[in-house]
């Protein structure tokens, strides 16, 4: 691998990694939001039971 090919490979790795990291971050946001909603509902239920 030489010349421009290596440059294209590096740029593709950088852009791909940034998008993958952002995808992971959105997944984390979604999961934590779901967990938050479940726990809030759970706390509401225990509150009612008391």
């Amino acid at each position: 691998m030489s010349g421009l090919t290596v440059v294209y490979v590096v740029f593709a790795i950088v852009v791909g990694s940034v998008f993958s990291y952002l995808f992971l971050m959105s997944k984390r946001h979604r999961e934590v939001a779901e967990e938050h909603a479940e726990l809030t509902a759970g706390l509401g239920e225990t509150g009612e039971r008391r």
Binding site: S2, V6, H29, E35, L39
Partner: protein, 239 residues
């Protein structure tokens, strides 16, 4: 727990966050696209290294942003040890993760660039060795965060490790002046190269800010979830 959060972090994806944060992301990705375009079409071909030198326009800005991230870990660590406010620890550990992300990309892009110009992916020369040590220290930092159960204790240990780890950054920077290695000392460059590099710096700084805000916002939400678990456990134990 009181966490002082800027509006953009308090409600990401809602009233305040979406507009500003998306704008920052748009700016970052536009600048990244412009950097890549300029590196390929605007910057002149370097006479000695040829085409692979174009990697420089992402390699150097990513290294700078990684150092910036570890500087934030350093400052965040000091502020946490001093003030004991969780928000400093959250910012520090978010910056550490992004710092590792960019350091990994610096090592990969540097390895591929090195293979094309020096004929080797890796050599134990001073700057590369100190960069690898930096990467290891901050991987250990994140592992420590995962392993420890007690929040404050984990934050204190990690703060100390982050402060010590950052001391490696000046060694990386001055390695080319102190010891002979494969990395050259900084030299002047034609205006077109300098402009492309400047746009690259702007792109990666904007990208770093965008990622950091996202990461901090997630960590703040996670802290709230952990607090809810505590509250739920306490309620269940009293009923």
């Amino acid at each position: 727990m009181s966490l002082a959060e800027p509006a953009v972090i308090r409600q990401p994806g809602r009233r305040y966050g979406l507009g500003r944060l998306d704008m920052l992301g748009l700016v970052a990705f536009t600048l990244l696209a412009v950097t890549i375009g300029m590196a390929l079409a605007y910057a002149p071909r370097e006479l000695i290294q040829g085409e692979p030198q174009r990697i420089f326009y992402v390699h150097l800005p990513m290294a700078l942003v990684a150092y910036l991230a570890f500087a934030i870990v350093f400052v965040g660590g000091i502020l946490y040890l001093w003030k004991r406010r969780p928000v400093f620890d959250i910012v520090a550990r978010s910056a550490a993760e992004i710092g590792i992300f960019f350091t990994t990309l610096v090592i990969i892009s540097g390895g591929l660039w090195g293979r094309a110009t020096w004929g080797t992916f890796w050599q134990w020369e001073p700057r590369l060795t100190f960069t690898f040590i930096l990467w290891l220290i901050f991987v250990a930092y994140l592992m420590l965060r995962q392993a420890a159960q007690d929040r404050d204790r984990s934050a204190r240990f990690a703060s100390v490790l982050g402060i010590i780890g950052f001391l490696d950054v000046p060694l990386i920077f001055f390695a080319v002046y102190l010891w002979r290695g494969l990395h050259p000392e900084p030299a002047g460059m034609p205006q077109q190269m300098a402009i492309t590099l400047f746009v690259g710096f702007a792109a990666f700084i904007a990208l770093f800010a965008y990622l950091l805000i996202h990461r901090v916002s997630w960590d703040l939400k996670r802290e709230r979830v952990e607090d809810l678990y505590f509250a739920l456990e306490e309620r269940e134990s009293t009923t």
